[in-house]
């Protein structure tokens, strides 16, 4: 469903963030992207919806090639890709409901959105999503009154109300405590399963990734080093991705936690 062909990104400074990435994500698959800081995980995700312009290569979403689209075509394509951010990226001075409805901006004209007259079907869907993540009572609170976990749930609603085919998730748990991290990861994976969504999740926490996803891709220096099921992430593999370290402890500890 999503296909990256020879995707390259070179920044103006000369840093080569992505070196000819080849990746294919079938419909409904949740994929975790791991790798050290600076490996190009964020750049990869942002090249897909062109928040960062790729230098060369192709991005296919279904039958459309995204890198050649003009600005209105790109806007239409972006509606099909929901994005969830590390620091939640809610517009803090808007209410929760406004933040969720901002996911429909691609479908609504400028004046309607300015006067906040969203179609009733959008409003209903927003209420349903907020209810699904347990935040219905917070709908008219301002986003900066919420806790980290609650904000990330709102971020998820904003991505889902777009009715996307694909979720791009950038470090969803990096600013959260361990328990909330798991809840958020579980929520994202459940929602993907419910709606048959594909997702690419950037994640630092290898153990957390192993717990929830079907496929792991390891990135190092802008190139794919590993692509396989989470069980195949043995210490040797982690060493090729991250470098030398005693990995046994990390993995073992996770097994125990899963067993609990």
């Amino acid at each position: 469903m999503l296909k990256l062909k020879k995707l390259v990104k070179t920044y103006a400074t000369g840093d080569q963030a992505l070196k000819s990435i080849e990746l294919e994500v079938p419909e409904g698959q949740v994929l975790a992207l791991i790798g050290p800081s600076g490996a190009g995980k964020s750049t990869l995700i942002r090249c897909i919806n062109r928040l960062v312009e790729p230098t060369s290569g192709e991005v296919w979403l279904g039958d459309t090639e995204l890198t050649k689209l003009n600005s209105s075509g790109l806007r239409r394509a972006r509606r099909e890709m929901g994005m969830i951010f590390q620091e939640y990226a809610l517009v803090e001075r808007l209410t929760v409901m406004e933040n969720v409805l901002s996911g429909r901006l691609g479908y609504v004209g400028f004046w309607r959105s300015l006067t906040r007259r969203f179609p009733q079907s959008d409003v209903d869907e927003a209420f349903r999503l907020l209810d699904r993540v347990g935040l219905l009572a917070m709908a008219d609170k301002r986003a900066d009154e919420l806790s980290g976990g609650q904000r990330q749930r709102v971020g998820i609603c904003r991505a889902l109300i777009q009715n996307p085919k694909l979720l791009l998730v950038d470090e969803p748990t990096a600013s959260l405590d361990p328990k909330t991290s798991r809840q958020i990861m579980r929520l994202i994976c459940e929602l993907c399963a419910e709606r048959g969504l594909a997702a690419i999740i950037n994640i630092h926490d290898v153990a957390l990734a192993q717990m929830f996803v079907q496929r792991v891709v390891g990135l190092r220096f802008g190139a794919v080093e590993f692509d396989g099921p989470p069980e195949a992430l043995v210490p040797d593999v982690l060493t090729t991705i991250y470098g030398e370290e005693d990995w046994e402890a990390t993995i073992k500890k996770d097994d125990e936690e899963v067993a609990q």
Binding site: R75, R76, R78, G82, L90, V91, E92, S113
Partner: protein, 271 residues
């Protein structure tokens, strides 16, 4: 470290010899410039008047007190005009400053090469010329009156408001903007949902702050004929009606204090 050996002891100095020399030269140069400036001022001053100043000041004081309180009945309309000049001027200037600020900010300007310098020039040009000069100019063009004052205040405030506003725009959180862009929103929607909510508090603060300054400035615009209480001041000065002058000065002082108080209250309520 600048240290020297004296007999057996090591002496620490704050600067090396060269630094000390450069420092002294700088101070000397500065002093010479100041002395020159002072001499120029002194040369074009009639010192006889200056020595006579205490007597004249006492004379003015005795004429100006007590203020002519009953004159206040004639000041109602001028005060209303002054308020209008400041308020309408501020409103117009805000309308003009918002687009200029968006064109001048790094992250929202459509073209860094062509449009941004123009916007920055508008900001500098309107800011560096005092509202009294703008008023002089506008009186020459559209004739004396309150309207010239309104326009003068409006033009003068563009630069000030636009500068503070574009600095606020440059400081916004770009990730929030990115998130709105990623939903497929159009350029204007990104502006309305991603940028505007973030700069609203700054905008309100700037508006009230500038309104306070404009009340001060509009009290004196009448000196050149641009309406407001300054007209009465200038008329009273021309006929040397010192009791009226002192009353007008008291009224201006009260207006300034009240506007500062209002602006502080409103800013406190917003932020």
């Amino acid at each position: 470290m600048p240290v020297t050996q004296h007999d057996d002891t090591t002496v620490w100095h704050r600067r090396t010899f060269k630094q000390t020399l450069a420092h002294s030269a700088m101070w000397l140069g500065g002093l010479a410039v100041f002395a020159y400036c002072w001499m120029q001022i002194s040369n074009s001053t009639t010192w006889f008047f200056v020595w006579d100043a205490p007597r004249i000041a006492g004379d003015i004081w005795s004429r100006a007190t007590p203020p002519k309180w009953e004159y206040i009945t004639q000041l109602g309309r001028p005060i209303w005009d002054t308020l209008n000049i400041a308020t309408l001027g501020t409103l117009i200037s805000l309308c003009l400053a918002v687009p200029v600020a968006f064109l001048a900010a790094h992250n929202t300007t459509p073209s860094k090469l062509f449009i941004r310098p123009v916007a920055l020039f508008i900001i500098v040009a309107t800011r560096s010329i005092n509202s009294l000069i703008w008023a002089l100019l506008l009186i020459a063009i559209i004739g004396p009156g309150v309207f010239a004052g309104v326009v003068a205040i409006a033009i003068r405030s563009i630069g000030f408001c636009a500068k503070l506003l574009y600095e606020a725009i440059e400081e916004i959180d770009s990730v929030q903007v990115e998130a709105i862009t990623a939903t497929g929103a159009s350029r204007w929607q990104v502006m309305a949902f991603g940028i505007v909510p973030q700069i609203m508090p700054a905008f309100a603060g700037i508006a009230v702050f500038r309104w306070d300054i404009n009340i001060r400035e509009s009290t004196v615009l009448g000196l050149v004929g641009a309406g407001g209480i300054g007209l009465q001041l200038s008329a009273s000065l021309n006929v040397l009606a010192w009791p009226q002058v002192s009353l007008i000065l008291l009224v201006i002082l009260a207006a300034v204090v009240i506007s500062e108080w209002v602006s502080a209250k409103v800013r406190g309520a917003i932020i």
